[in-house]
Symmetry: C2
Subunit: 381 residues, 2 copies
């Protein structure tokens, strides 16, 4: 019997015990002044993580809910939107826009590659006017970071809105919501924020609001005008997940005590170690270094044994890895290095992965991947 | 900033979150029937771990308290006792007996070696009559297991009592309290029982009780006749640590669900992996394989850098190792592999130890120790 689960999936990530303990505080009513003080405080801190002065909402939903809130509040049926798709989560963003009745133009890039900014530029310069561009900042299905700053530079001085899914990067990377001109920025609680799932965060720019005011809301729960109306008074329009807010208070405290720049640096460092380690095991990585994610690394497992490998390391060692999604299903593993983990656990996970590969007959030299990750870590201690 | 502490010290060991959660249950009064049911249940389960039908007490104290309870209840001033000493905790047992006024005869063995049974046999056969023999089952300061069964065989059919300190082995090893003829068997909560410190367990044989009844108690708190009197009614004579009892209930549940034999096997397996790993780092082990502890391994660190190494891996990686005690202070590290840890964490700890050795200038090949531990683990998955 394996007794522990080591979460190296790209969300949910491990929850610090201090955060779990904070969540056991007795629930308070969500229409009183204690609640309003808490929500105001948390909103301001999350705005700092977002590097934004825009309005920010803490939704009781998953990240997908925040994406739907952005889309459904800012797009009318028939609106033309450009979806920049580099993997499964880019597909999902497009699907949400389609469900809202938008006319979605998909610009797809090979999985494992980032958005080609020149193609986007050409489309924006020469094609029909767009109401919005949708982009995934950190494509969790491939481990690729897209250059949202560059996309933002193309649209910020135009009427076109920029909607960004930063679910698996916000908090772990230097993300400049305002400087980059992001009108709707969405993320969720169970990634770099080190919380269980259940909360999402969404910022809305003044430019975004101007469009929202022209849209007739399709959703009741995700109608951002309702969130704004309650938010100015320190409240949520519908019942919020109060326990997760208690946890968020503690998680933000941990993040700010460490320092956001230190948090970002440690994610970059982990990615370098994991990438060196996986390569030394003879695995080909899905993403090139130039656009590699600091929070999740995907690697091909030859001979169709990716899911067998994941099952083996979970069963024998409690190591939880993610598999491929969509067109990469069954052919890759994805290992997260995000949030509340550390060098010791990452090195242990790599050692266990070597054991799993060995068990399945791959020609891996025990300790070789660990050694390369160690070499990365020791240079940067 | 290192955010996690990985406890690889030989106690306290990591506490499972289920156990920590159980400890947050509201405290109950300790003079009611709910409490009595709980104490009776826990006593019976701990007796199963001890493999004893003797009376067993759950003391609110450390393991040292249980050792004092045994000694102070069973020895009169001037009683002759033989203390078998293989390390620091054997010294402590002797010191407790001396504090009680016993006339302590120390039989010392080289640190890193086990009790030489032939010497004990010779002393018992030829020397003056003894009231008791004191022995440490698992000498935590050196990582050596003493053959308590063999000592027991020498005294069980004599009037001499056998007092055993099993603080760092009970629960992790096959310990047969009754079969071995142990009159007083002591252990504590923060080792293989996976609890925080604060509880100790002590069993008393009928032969032990006969002596207790002839001793005028020196201690009030540790007077075992008071514990027996309350114990038959399901109570503790003085206020017990109720929260730890809630935790103990859950910890025992985890141990019995896994199966005691499986628990013992995994500790043996870990010891083999850690010993292979440390040797591959070029380190000399304090204990030979033939008496190596399944719960803690001690290794020499040359050039007086043992404590610098411990400080480095704690500071940079959150890896907590123990140092040398007594005559081994400053010259060894001690790594526990006990309780709520797993292969992934042990391999990670070995990887981090390699990094620490490298940083201090030792000629360690990165990944080499991990590889040898992996090889042990993969053979025995």
């Amino acid at each position: 019997m394996q007794r522990k689960q080591h979460l190296f999936i790209p969300g949910p990530t491990p929850v610090p015990p201090e955060v779990a303990a904070a969540m056991t505080r007795p629930v308070i009513g969500h229409r009183g002044s204690d609640y309003a003080s808490l929500q105001r405080y948390l909103t301001e801190k999350v705005q700092q993580v977002f590097q934004t002065k825009n309005d920010l909402f803490i939704l009781t939903s998953s990240g997908t809910g925040a994406m739907e809130a952005a889309v459904t509040s800012s797009l009318n049926p028939g609106d033309k939107v450009l979806a920049l798709i580099t993997g499964q989560f880019g597909q999902r963003f497009a699907a949400i826009a389609e469900r809202c009745g938008a006319e979605v133009e998909r610009m797809e890039f090979p999985w494992g590659e980032a958005v080609d900014i020149e193609k986007v530029r050409a489309r924006l310069e020469h094609g029909p006017q767009l109401e919005a561009v949708l982009v995934t900042h950190n494509e969790t299905s491939t481990g690729v970071v897209n250059d949202v700053a560059a996309v933002g530079a193309l649209v910020k001085d135009t009427p076109t809105l920029l909607l960004v899914d930063a679910v698996s990067s916000m908090g772990a990377m230097d993300i400049r919501t305002d400087e980059w001109g992001v009108d709707f920025m969405a993320t969720s609680s169970q990634k770099a924020f080190m919380l269980p799932p259940g909360l999402a965060f969404l910022s809305v720019s003044p430019k975004g609001w101007r469009k929202v005011e022209k849209v007739s809301p399709r959703s009741f729960y995700f109608d951002l005008t309702a969130w704004r109306e309650s938010g100015v008074k320190g409240f949520s329009p519908w019942t919020p997940n109060v326990s997760l807010l208690f946890g968020l208070e503690k998680a933000l405290d941990l993040m700010f005590t460490e320092g956001l720049e230190q948090v970002w640096a440690r994610h970059r460092r982990w990615a370098r170690g994991v990438r060196a380690g996986l390569r030394a095991m003879g695995l080909e990585l899905v993403a090139e270094d130039k656009w590699a994610s600091p929070t999740v690394t995907a690697a091909y497992i030859p001979d169709g044994q990716a899911d067998a490998l994941r099952a083996a390391v979970k069963r024998d060692f409690g190591l939880c890895l993610a598999g491929g999604k969509g067109k990469l299903a069954g052919s890759i593993i994805r290992m997260s290095h995000m949030g509340y983990v550390d060098d010791l656990e990452i090195l242990g996970a790599l050692a266990v992965l070597e054991l799993g590969l060995k068990q399945l007959g791959y020609p891996v030299k025990l300790g070789a991947g660990v050694a390369q990750a160690q070499a990365q870590f020791i240079e940067e201690v």
